[in-house]
């Protein structure tokens, strides 16, 4: 009724009020009394609805008492009508507890999750735990979602409602251990709506998902690896952690790929490309990246990966990277000197020259001079080599 007072007065006073309202205090007292003195569930429900509508923080202790009692008295409600009303009341109280972040009620809310046989009420209790950031329950909610992810529940609709609550709870609690179950939920048996929600909320769970992403990259197939790596790259994790993850991803992407299984090899290549793009964009200069970057250049699944590999080496720019680039330029130059000039070599050579220039490392200079003086190259390659050399002057 206070809500009405708020809105009614709003209309009268010709401007909107803020969150809290008028006449809150005695109304809270009165509805608390009505709640306490009510003997049937409907009256209690009505009183609680009015209490929550008051938008008054002081109702929180009343709601804590209410949820404790609701859990304790669940077996008293046996008819279908009572059970429905009971479920609605648990939802209502849980929502209020979440709103006021009444952390004292967390054990009772978890009891609702475990004991109350109403998926909407359970889901609302999970969301309330999330809203109050009940960190102590992050592990339990993560475990619950992990279990739900595995296989459709007997009542899929009920399982989906629980998963929905778990996902939102974990997104609000923001504990890193919620990342993996929500990640798997984004690809589990649920409806598109729930899977989409999980994917959408993954970035909210933690600013630095490096640890769970690393585990996923080590253990999952190439498609999930790629999805996890994208999340890491887009996250607010420290740059050095992102670079380390990308290097690991690139290395594993080469190690685990079986070139004889074409579809898988293509998926692994796509995964490695994400890692290479990340290393380029992050300006990775870690010597540990050189070997897998070189492997992408020499053994990449397609030209795109090869070009990204050499570009990443150029960005790397370390002596190790410069030596590798110089070595590749020598191979290409030898081929062309032996009459093996073709479009592909021209393309790779131009990319390698650009990478060499990007290193600004004197190690590559002799090879650039050599190429610039190898007349078998096309004019575009010679021009590139000469332009690159100017960068060293």
């Amino acid at each position: 009724m206070k809500r009405i007072s708020i809105m009614a007065l709003t209309a009268l006073m010709l401007f909107a009020t803020g969150t809290s309202a008028l006449f809150a205090d005695e109304m809270t007292e009165v509805y608390r009394l009505i709640y306490q003195q009510s003997t049937n569930l409907q009256d209690r429900y009505n009183a609680v609805e009015n209490l929550i509508a008051l938008d008054d923080r002081s109702v929180a202790p009343i709601l804590v008492g209410a949820i404790e009692e609701l859990v304790r008295t669940q077996d008293n409600y046996k008819t279908a009508t009572d059970k429905t009303l009971y479920g609605r009341m648990v939802q209502l109280v849980a929502k209020g507890l979440g709103k006021y972040k009444a952390i004292d009620s967390a054990p009772f809310l978890w009891n609702v999750v475990q004991q109350v046989n109403d998926p909407l009420a359970q889901s609302e209790a999970l969301i309330a735990l999330g809203q109050m950031r009940a960190l102590d329950y992050a592990e339990r909610i993560s475990k619950m979602l992990s279990d739900l992810n595995l296989t459709p529940t007997v009542d899929p609709d009920a399982g989906e409602k629980l998963a929905f609550g778990c996902i939102i709870a974990l997104a609000k609690i923001k504990d890193v251990q919620g990342f993996a179950p929500v990640f798997y939920a984004s690809d589990a048996w649920y409806s598109q709506r729930v899977r989409q929600l999980a994917l959408q909320l993954l970035p909210d769970i933690t600013v630095d998902p490096t640890d769970p992403v690393t585990t996923l990259i080590k253990n999952e197939g190439p498609v999930k690896k790629a999805k996890a790596l994208k999340l890491e790259v887009a996250s607010a994790a420290p740059v050095d952690r992102k670079i380390a993850t990308a290097i690991l991803a690139l290395s594993i992407g080469h190690l685990q790929s079986d070139p004889n299984r074409l579809t898988e090899a293509k998926n692994f290549s796509d995964f490695r490309k994400i890692a290479l793009v990340a290393l380029i964009q992050l300006g990775a200069k870690d010597p540990a990246a050189v070997d897998p970057e070189l492997k992408s250049f020499t053994d990449g699944f397609d030209t795109e990966e090869k070009l990204l590999g050499i570009q990443a080496l150029g960005v790397n720019g370390t002596d190790a990277a410069a030596k590798v680039i110089a070595s590749q330029l020598r191979h290409l130059n030898d081929d062309v000197s032996n009459g093996l000039l073709d479009e592909n070599r021209t393309r790779l050579a131009r990319a390698a020259i650009a990478a060499a220039a990007a290193t600004r490392n004197p190690i590559v200079r002799p090879m650039l001079i050599l190429i610039a003086n190898t007349n078998q190259w096309s004019g575009s390659v010679l021009n590139d080599a000469n332009a690159a050399l100017k960068a060293f002057k």
């Binding site: 009405i4 969150t19 006449f23 509805y31």
Partner: protein
């Protein structure tokens, strides 16, 4: 009405936001000057003034770390006079949490509010009636099936102060009566709450510092023992701080407010007894401007 500073504090507004005369928008419509220079009685004049009214359009609730918990948007008619809809969202949820749609009759009288849950279904309907003086006379709540859930009636004195509130259950049985007492200056002084048997269940004593710097609501149990108190610390009619105190008068929690140039509340920061922030709120407004003819004497 009730204690104005506290009322405004809870309404999310500063006193000056009610009506703020900003400037003269046209020349005064003055009477002819008297011919004789001798002193004369003040002359009644009129002038048109522009009134700026902050209209709340968004309220955002933040966690202490600055992340958004929920936000509520307020939608009005084109003139910004009538609130049409209030919708609360949680950024992590795909649908709104709750939506309240206000309806008005042909005369612009606010007749009801429809409360919808996150699934879009109607949860509660609140019907309102008003006194001829546009004071809330009654409210009646019913569920989606039209089954009555509760109702209230209100009574007022000639000055428009609320003097009584009666709360009824869905069957129409009286459950509680609350009375309000005022002093000769129309300051709310005492609220008494009684159950269906008319037995006192509790009371609230309201007191004001002589210099207007504080307003205290002391909550008492039926036997007169203290339950808690709420202290509003005021400056120029605005609540700067709202404290909730335990029966031993120790601080339980406090909310600090800031205001904008039109008296509109901008922020509210809730802290625990140790000063640790528990929640932050911010308020966004649009400014409605109205022309008003004002009488003055010169």
């Amino acid at each position: 009405m009730l204690g104005i500073p506290k009322m405004l504090a809870k309404a999310g507004l500063g006193a000056t936001a009610l009506v703020l005369v900003m400037s003269c928008a046209s020349a005064p419509k003055s009477a002819p000057k008297p011919a004789a220079p001798a002193p004369t009685a003040p002359v009644q004049k009129e002038r048109t003034v522009t009134v700026r009214t902050p209209v709340l359009v968004k309220e955002t609730v933040f966690y202490p770390d600055g992340l958004v918990d929920t936000y509520t948007t307020y939608t009005y008619d084109d003139s910004l006079n009538r609130l049409l809809q209030k919708t609360t969202f949680d950024p992590t949820r795909p649908d709104f949490i709750e939506k309240v749609v206000s309806e008005y009759d042909a005369n612009g009288i606010h007749t009801d509010d429809l409360v919808y849950g996150s699934d879009g279904s109607l949860k509660v309907r609140h019907d309102l009636t008003w006194t001829p003086g546009k004071l809330l006379a009654s409210e009646k709540g019913q569920d989606a099936k039209g089954i009555p859930q509760f109702s209230s009636t209100y009574a007022y004195d000639q000055a428009g102060n609320r003097t009584e509130w009666k709360a009824f259950d869905g069957s129409g049985a009286l459950r509680a009566t609350t009375t309000y007492a005022f002093d000769s200056n129309k300051h709310l002084m005492l609220i008494e709450m009684r159950n269906a048997a008319n037995a006192l269940t509790g009371s609230i004593k309201v007191s004001y510092a002589a210099d207007g710097s504080t307003e205290t609501w002391a909550y008492l149990h039926a036997d007169g023992s203290p339950e808690k108190s709420e202290v509003s610390i005021l400056k120029n009619g605005q609540v700067l701080r709202f404290e909730v105190r335990r029966p031993d008068n120790s601080l339980a929690e406090a909310t600090d407010y800031t205001y904008g140039p039109d008296g509109e509340r901008l922020t509210a920061v809730l802290s625990d007894a140790a000063g640790k922030v528990k929640e932050k709120r911010s308020f966004d407004y649009r400014i409605r401007t109205d022309q008003k003819v004002e009488t003055y004497y010169e």
